[in-house]
Symmetry: C4
Amino acid sequence: MKAIGRWAIAEGYIPGKSTGSGRELTSHETVCVLNMGDTDARVEIAVYFSDREPAGPFTFTVPARRTQHIRFNDFCDPEKIPVNTDFASVITSDVPIVVQHTRLDSRQEALALLSTIAFPSNY
Amino acid sequence: MKAIGRWAIAEGYIPGKSTGSGRELTSHETVCVLNMGDTDARVEIAVYFSDREPAGPFTFTVPARRTQHIRFNDFCDPEKIPVNTDFASVITSDVPIVVQHTRLDSRQEALALLSTIAFPSNY
Amino acid sequence: MKAIGRWAIAEGYIPGKSTGSGRELTSHETVCVLNMGDTDARVEIAVYFSDREPAGPFTFTVPARRTQHIRFNDFCDPEKIPVNTDFASVITSDVPIVVQHTRLDSRQEALALLSTIAFPSNY
Amino acid sequence: MKAIGRWAIAEGYIPGKSTGSGRELTSHETVCVLNMGDTDARVEIAVYFSDREPAGPFTFTVPARRTQHIRFNDFCDPEKIPVNTDFASVITSDVPIVVQHTRLDSRQEALALLSTIAFPSNY
């Protein structure tokens, strides 16, 4: 796999509690991937921690002309991402993509949000 | 139309509920466009989804030396953007612009905000 | 003035209400300027609106090796910035600076925050 | 030390109060550093203020293939960072890193969040 796109998100944290009901109000950490091209993207995500070797790769297909908002909460293969734990991620793709990072935190009684375009890393 | 500026926002979501009254406290997803130049900008926005072909183009004019904060909630031609649905967007312009993405989410009793400069995509 | 640094913020909005007391909890829109160099920076800010010609320049000095977090709320010369009004801004400097945009919105009972590094514009 | 990576965060502020209990809900200002390389990173952080010379350097090691989410609240050598005080920071490293800035503000009864990728400064 030739990585044409490589993006990094230095922040990562799945809040361990939620208020409100349903999937939409559950605290979540999300990587939004946009594939505006005409070829399906094979996306690989490595997850970095403070005290152990990286996990992954977690692999996803983002079809041509589609976006997928992937929750770290849902990662399960090859392993789950623990809650209440600092992490970071590197997203690589075999075709150009755009990556944005969003968190919804509903631990306290009103939700909070953060978002940033990820860093387009060419290291 | 020659696209001099092309920007991407991988995150997009119109929360389906609001607390508080009035347009200003209604949950909204916004694309802020700044045209600092001396020529009106013709702006086209394509909206990408997870499970269907992109919608649009939605077309706007941002006059010279003006900013417009355009709500995805208000898009109606050629179609409306559904609420509670993941999407992404690509903004192209025939003159240079700057694009920033903001959400106000008032589903729970205190509003939340997120914002990021969009990604200046040259793919 | 030779503009070595030019930055743009397409989002801008001073919420017209606040909860909580004191300057620190007053709803505010801020441009954070960092001058890490050894020469004082002369900074000029132009403010763009949706329906009128730009206001400014608003001029500030950010001394060498200092940061200033300047609130649009406090702008008064040559004019004040109206609340509850969409705007955008362009920040130019005669020496290199770094610019970040932050809002604190305390209209509802718990404050909300947004922040993004501004766009380093070389148009 | 040869700075291969230099990043700037123009915003910085440690809220002086918190609601909720425990380290995770304490108001904090964080610099997230990702070292995706195979060499440990020696990271130096300088902290800039509005009215005095910069503090630091504060030095940290971010091991190879690790992330560290470092709270400005915990800085103590060579000095502590005061709360309720505007600051900014410059992060340099002897190997490539990626830097993201996050704040959790729980002064009022529901927490607020902000985050942005820092500015990759090559001045």
